[in-house]
Amino acid sequence: MSIAWNAFTPASALIGGAIIGAAVALFVTLNGRIAGVSGILGGLARPRAGDISWRVAFVAGLVAAPLAWGLLAALPEIRVDAGFPALVAAGLLVGVGTRYGGGCTSGHGVCGVSRASPRSIAATVAFMAAGFATVYVVRHLIAQ
């Protein structure tokens, strides 16, 4: 392992993380819910009366953030190296896996770990391990 010191951005990572934490705090202290993006989005796949608008609003907020940012400043770098076939496969895995697992990086990784939920800590260890393993296979075994 070698740390890429030129790419490491500790200050913006901590500040951005704290802003994400503030969003989680806002959501739970006002709406009383977990800010888990996969669950909020997934709930729209089987819409129930009275359970739609808050989900749509949260999703719209996430989509609106880069739009508002773009009005004031240039968006930060966005680089997607994966091609379309890999992205579609990845999206399907994320769409199915997060629903069976009951959460993703936000619901388990941020909210669950913040609550010290053993379930969420187990889920976070699992998806992190699978993420590390997948990148290792793709970049260091297949791409060799």
């Binding site: 490491f8 966005i78 399907l92």
Partner: protein, 152 residues
């Protein structure tokens, strides 16, 4: 009616702030996320600090709300409390992790990428929604299965 409007507005605000946080943190950039997941390459530890910052703030909020039955807006506090660590949780999370490792994108950043007008982000998001549909299909079938057997 007033509270309904307030909840919806609060929901939008939370999603918006969440999206800004992802952008500031660099987590809307899939290449940076993959640089964190690439332990054997030129490793960028930034994502760990994003989690640390988010958890530090989140923990205070959850400690505050845990003792209350209603939120500051008067909404009921709906925190899930299942404690079982089962096969469904672990297998689902492993499948999610494989998808995350392939693209460097998870659901939050997918929505930010869509808002940024990234065609690749939109393709990924469409696939996530299709994946949700696949999940709902099998859930419905699993739920209908035992009921059918009972009625026959």
């Amino acid at each position: 009616m007033r509270s309904y409007v307030l909840y919806t507005a609060a929901s939008f605000a939370a999603g918006f702030v969440f999206g800004l946080g992802l952008l500031v943190a660099g987590m809307a950039n899939p290449a940076k996320v993959l640089a964190f997941l690439d332990l054997a390459g030129a490793w960028d530890p930034s994502l760990a600090l994003v989690m640390a910052g988010a958890v530090a703030v989140g923990a205070v909020a959850f400690a505050f709300i845990k003792k209350r039955s209603h939120t500051l807006l008067g909404a009921p506090v709906l925190l899930p409390n299942p404690r079982r660590i089962d096969r469904r949780l672990i297998l689902g999370s492993l499948v999610f992790g494989v998808g995350w490792g392939l693209a460097g994108i998870c659901p939050g950043p997918a929505l930010v990428l869509a808002g940024a007008g990234s065609a690749k982000g939109l393709a990924f998001l469409a696939a996530v929604i299709a994946g949700n549909g696949v999940f709902e299909f099998f859930e419905k079938r699993a739920a209908a299965g035992p009921a059918r057997m009972q009625s026959s």
